[in-house]
């Protein structure tokens, strides 16, 4: 079993065992990051960001730099050759010979998959429209695993924008494969989980999902509460955004009925959906979650490039 040379377009591209391999290496990196500080010496990460992203791009760059590699790429399609109308296939054919591994963010859904069909090096999907964001999912899975010790038998509530939130779509799809997963979907009617996703998970895994519009009603029964931002850019209409943006705000008083060991997670950045008074609660793990994102990306890139992760720095 080797992940060398593979692409990561959808979290489910990897088997449970392969994901376990990524998490095992990430665990070792969490324990002793410095031991891996030169395993990617001489390797280059290409970052192809066709739409702005600070966190994901910097997280990938940090992950590569922390392993001793280097980074090149663009962070705005307007300043690259794509602004001249170059196809993804042509861009990727050229850039994949410049770098050992590529990460692509693109506003169009399926663009990284198209890239992977023409790339000479592994392609990682850094987010494609409202479709998938697999490394955020790996980050989320590693976080749950670090705190709960397992990914099985977890009840996860997703709260906020479940219609456009790709992090939610990816995590639901990934968690569906673990034994005993249950989902609670908390959203305004206008931002419910897309029907096609609900039906495919119900058909494939037979998982029932509880849908509610009330955060407080559901909070007591969940192991993980996954909050999301209601993104302004996903709305066509300012009035709709203003009406819905405050629908689901988590504050300390709403946490009263939550389990003692419940995790509050968030892909960040948050706007106001989690009040600052929650930050000090031990259940709030969203900043730690962002930190785990570095480790999981380090582990992922090391495995896709097939570098020797045992050749640790002394």
């Amino acid at each position: 079993m080797s992940l060398k040379g593979r692409h990561l377009i959808d979290p489910n591209d990897f088997s449970i065992q392969e994901l376990g391999e990524v998490f095992y290496l990430a665990d070792r990196m969490v324990e002793d990051r410095d031991a891996f500080s030169s395993i990617c010496k001489g390797k280059i990460l290409g970052t192809l960001f066709y739409e702005p992203s600070t966190r994901t791009r910097l997280s990938f760059e940090s992950a590569m730099l922390r392993m001793g590699g280097t980074v090149l790429g663009f962070s705005d399609a307007a300043t690259s050759s794509v602004s001249k109308g170059e196809s993804i296939a042509d861009t990727i054919r050229v850039l994949s010979s410049y770098a050992d591994i590529l990460v692509m963010r693109h506003p169009k859904e399926g663009a990284p998959k198209l890239a992977s069909e023409y790339a000479l090096s592994p392609v990682i999907n850094g987010g494609d429209g409202g479709h998938q964001h697999p490394t955020q999912t790996l980050t989320d899975l590693l976080t749950i695993r670090q705190y709960k010790g397992t990914l099985e038998n977890q009840t996860i509530a997703f709260c906020g924008d479940l219609k456009f939130g790709r992090t939610v779509h990816s995590l639901i799809s990934a968690m569906s494969r673990y034994k005993g997963s249950r989902f609670v979907l908390i959203s305004p009617h206008e931002l419910k989980l897309p029907e096609h996703l609900k039906s495919s998970i119900a058909e494939k895994y037979g998982i029932d999902m509880l849908e509610t519009e009330n955060l407080e009603e559901a909070i007591g029964q969940v192991d993980v509460l996954y909050m999301t931002r209601i993104q302004k850019e996903r709305f066509f209409n300012e009035a709709d955004y203003m009406r819905l943006k405050d629908s689901y705000i988590l504050n300390r008083s709403k946490l009263k009925n939550a389990k003692e060991d419940m995790l509050v997670m968030h892909p960040l950045p948050r706007v106001n959906e989690i009040s600052y008074d929650v930050d000090d609660d031990k259940r709030a793990v969203y900043f730690k979650q962002a930190e785990y994102g570095i480790y999981v990306r380090m582990a992922l890139m090391a495995l896709l490039m097939g570098v020797d992760a045992n050749a640790q720095s002394k």
Binding site: E109, G110, L114, D128, E195, E203
Partner: protein, 143 residues
């Protein structure tokens, strides 16, 4: 009852649901050919009540996937020397490529010529939908 002669060598598309004959005729561009073709509509049928039939006095390539999309259950008979030498029936295809576009306006396949999605059959809510290989959204095929 209208009588149409049998053909000696060619293709007979039979058991077409009444109303679909003209669609298939147009999809196969049979109006542009220079050999004899007959489109029969509303022919009495013990199985279907009424059916359409297309007789083509020539051997042409017929895309069974496309026919299956338009009308699953029709039969394609290959005729040689006045006799049926091969009989095929169509069914709803599991995999489709290049016959329709993804309906998701945000799908890369609607922007990049290199992206021709492979659609996989997905049943949902009693309707027949296809899942796009790029964006995974469901598209319903309408002829």
């Amino acid at each position: 009852m209208l009588k149409v002669n049998s053909i000696d060598c060619g293709i007979v598309i039979d058991h077409i649901t009444a109303g679909n004959g003209i669609k298939i005729f147009e999809k196969l561009k049979l109006g542009e050919v220079n050999f004899p073709v007959v489109l029969l509509i509303n022919v009495p049928s013990s199985k279907l009540g009424r059916k359409d039939i297309i007789k083509i006095e020539n051997k042409i390539d017929v895309d069974l996937t496309m026919l299956g999309l338009i009308d699953p259950g029709l039969t394609v008979n290959i005729i040689e020397n006045g006799a049926i030498v091969n009989k095929m029936s169509t069914h709803i295809p599991n995999d489709v490529q290049g016959l329709f576009k993804c309906k998701n306006p945000r799908c890369i396949s609607n922007f990049d010529e290199y992206a021709t999605p492979k659609f996989k059959l997905a049943h949902s809510n009693g309707k027949i939908h296809y899942r796009c290989s790029y964006c995974e959204e469901l598209t319903t095929y309408n002829i």
